[in-house]
């Protein structure tokens, strides 16, 4: 069903601020204010290893922002800062600042559990719980303390994830019996059942076939009306097809230690990144010359 999607919507009209070269340094270029996330000099360490450093970018509200780049460039690591999933890794630590609206996400007063209820996540490998389809969707609301029947909420969430028609007659059967693409849409339904503000998607289609991928891409475009979406992807065509803005990360060997460290190279409107990148490394990557 995705085959006829109007090829990457390369907008020809150059945004006005794109011509004022002076704004190139601004990470928030063109993002409608106020941004949902504001990262300033965001750096993540695993122990002594600096995994990705000095990331400056703003994420626009109700936009799809794609993080692309070769393996090891730190794009997933940055994504996992946005809902504090990195807290689960003992040795991970961050420097710099990350604002969610106006709140410092890493303020000691901020509860990561509350953060994750507002900022949902969909993972690379579909990971439904070994429960029924219904219980998967109801899991988030239940732990959030919602009592009583959740039939309506489950139905709404499954409709929102484009899965309702396929599963409405077998809500009680195990989620593990679904196909990979259905499982991933179930994970999306599960994430939106807690009415988050933002959805983080970490390579959500990398384990899926092209048809399931197309379905999820369509779904993302619809969900953009309600949610701010940040997606990490290895698939440049996917970034070009679905995203409004694209951040290109790369990994470069540190001169002193020889360790490969991630960095943000370029962040701009997707149409510009793919038609007229500023940086040679971005161009080399998107034209397939490396990575």
């Amino acid at each position: 069903m995705s085959t006829e999607t109007e090829a990457p919507t390369i907008k020809t009209e150059i945004p006005t601020d794109g011509q004022t070269a002076a704004s190139d340094e601004l990470p928030s270029k063109g993002v409608a204010s106020p941004p949902v996330f504001t990262a300033r000099d965001l750096t993540v360490y695993y122990g002594d290893f600096r995994a990705v450093g000095d990331v400056n970018l703003d994420i626009g509200e109700r936009e799809i922002t794609a993080f692309i780049g070769p393996s090891g460039c730190g794009k997933s690591t940055i994504l996992r800062c946005f809902n504090r999933m990195n807290d689960l890794i003992d040795i991970a630590r961050i420097e710099g600042s990350l604002l969610y609206h106006d709140i410092d996400l890493y303020d000691p007063e901020v509860d990561p559990v509350a953060v994750r209820r507002r900022i949902g996540m969909v993972f690379q490998k579909p990971n439904p719980f070994p429960k029924s389809i219904y219980d998967n969707v109801a899991y988030g609301p239940r732990i959030a303390g919602v009592k009583g029947s959740m039939d309506d909420l489950v139905e709404e969430s499954l409709i929102g994830a484009g899965l309702w028609a396929e599963v409405k007659d077998r809500l009680g059967s195990s989620a593990l019996g679904l196909s990979g693409g259905q499982q991933q849409r179930l994970c999306i339904a599960r994430a939106i059942a807690v009415s988050p503000d933002v959805l983080l998607m970490d390579e959500p289609c990398s384990a899926l076939d092209p048809i399931a991928t197309g379905t999820i891409e369509e779904l993302m475009k619809e969900m953009k009306n309600e949610y701010t979406i940040v997606i990490v992807t290895h698939n440049m065509q996917q970034a070009a097809r679905v995203s409004d803005r694209t951040a290109f990360f790369t990994a470069e060997a540190d001169e002193a230690t020889g360790q490969r460290r991630g960095k943000l190279v370029e962040y701009d409107e997707t149409s510009l990144i793919f038609s007229n990148p500023n940086d040679d490394r971005t161009e080399a990557y998107i034209t397939g010359r490396f990575g």
């Binding site: 003992d90 509350a114 949902g120 719980f129 070994p130 899991y139 732990i143 195990s174 593990l176």
Partner: protein, 312 residues
């Protein structure tokens, strides 16, 4: 089947190069043979044990099964039975379930989910593994010092409580190790998914990790019960009786009074002169095997039901 096309002009692979090799794969066959031999020997030994106890015990079990199961110990070979041993073993299994399982599973959850991964934690893990290899008689000495002597007021000295607590200590490392491994085997994608929905650590453990680890934890629990039911040496040190008469017993005496267990019955029968007591030890062994088999069966059924409920 005729090899007409050995090589074709176009350089395609010939049929011959893909045919099954005619020369025997000697090393592979020898290896396979050794493996089969190992399996065969293992099975043969188990069957030999089963066969010998059943044959030796058949005399007693065949002629007076019910009285053997329901009579207490006696000096008369025609009357002696193992009911005291069955009662003791079942009580010990109950005590181990109540004491060793909660403590062992709790320790495993702490070590796997809460404890920081540092030298101290690793030291504890190594210590637990080593404890699993300590000879059981050493646990018997510990039980004698702690439960029989120091805590006599509670345990009543050489009682089924002392025996059960001693065997709980003995199996505790096994429970911790198997539960730890079951918890560690739960895929992190499950806990990530729950954390990503805003679950607290306790909610993740309760709703995802423990249910997924339960079949493995249950397997470890059954193994440890079977181990506890088979031990005689620690009970000997703790003071299980070879022979005692059961007069009127108050409720507390059931737990604090003299006791024995099935392996003790086996050991005691085996010590008696063979001409009168031939077969009693073997018959008691069969009873032990049957009890352990039934406990295993219950656990396997429970495991299957849990697994089915989880939808795997």
């Amino acid at each position: 089947m005729s090899n007409t096309a050995k090589t074709s002009a176009t350089g395609r692979p010939s049929l011959g190069s893909l045919q099954k090799r005619r020369t025997a794969d000697v090393k592979g066959q020898v290896f396979l043979g050794l493996l089969l031999l190992a399996v065969g020997l293992a099975v043969a030994m188990v069957l030999a044990v089963l066969f010998s106890v059943i044959v030796d015990g058949l005399d007693v079990l065949g002629s007076r099964l019910w009285s053997f199961l329901s009579n207490p110990s006696s000096s008369d070979p025609e009357k002696a039975g193992v009911v005291q041993g069955i009662r003791g073993s079942l009580l010990i299994a109950a005590i181990v379930s109540v004491v060793a399982f909660p403590i062992g599973i709790g320790a495993a959850i702490y070590l796997e989910e809460y404890a920081e991964d540092n030298t101290f934690t690793r030291l504890i893990e190594v210590a637990v593994r080593n404890l699993a290899g300590v000879p059981s008689i050493v646990y018997g000495l510990l039980g004698l010092a702690v439960f029989v002597q120091s805590l006599r007021g509670i345990t009543g000295g050489s009682s089924v409580i002392s025996g059960g607590l001693t065997l709980s200590l003995l199996v505790l490392p096994i429970v911790i190790i198997t539960a730890s491994e079951a918890i560690r085997a739960v895929p992190s994608s499950l806990s990530d998914g729950a954390y990503g929905l805003g679950a607290t650590q306790w909610e993740v453990i309760r709703t995802q990790i423990l249910p997924a680890a339960l079949p493995g934890i249950l397997t470890g629990a059954v193994l440890s019960i079977a181990r506890a039911l088979g031990e005689a040496a620690p009970l000997l040190v703790v003071g299980a009786a070879a022979f005692y008469t059961t007069g009127f017993q108050g409720f507390l005496d059931q737990f604090q009074g003299a006791f024995t267990a099935l392996p003790m019955n086996v050991a005691n029968f085996a010590k008696l002169p063979a001409d009168n007591w031939a077969g009693h030890a073997a018959a008691a062994s069969v009873v032990v095997l049957v009890v352990v088999f039934f406990i295993n069966l219950v656990a396997i059924i429970a495991r299957a039901r849990i697994t089915k409920k989880l939808g795997r």
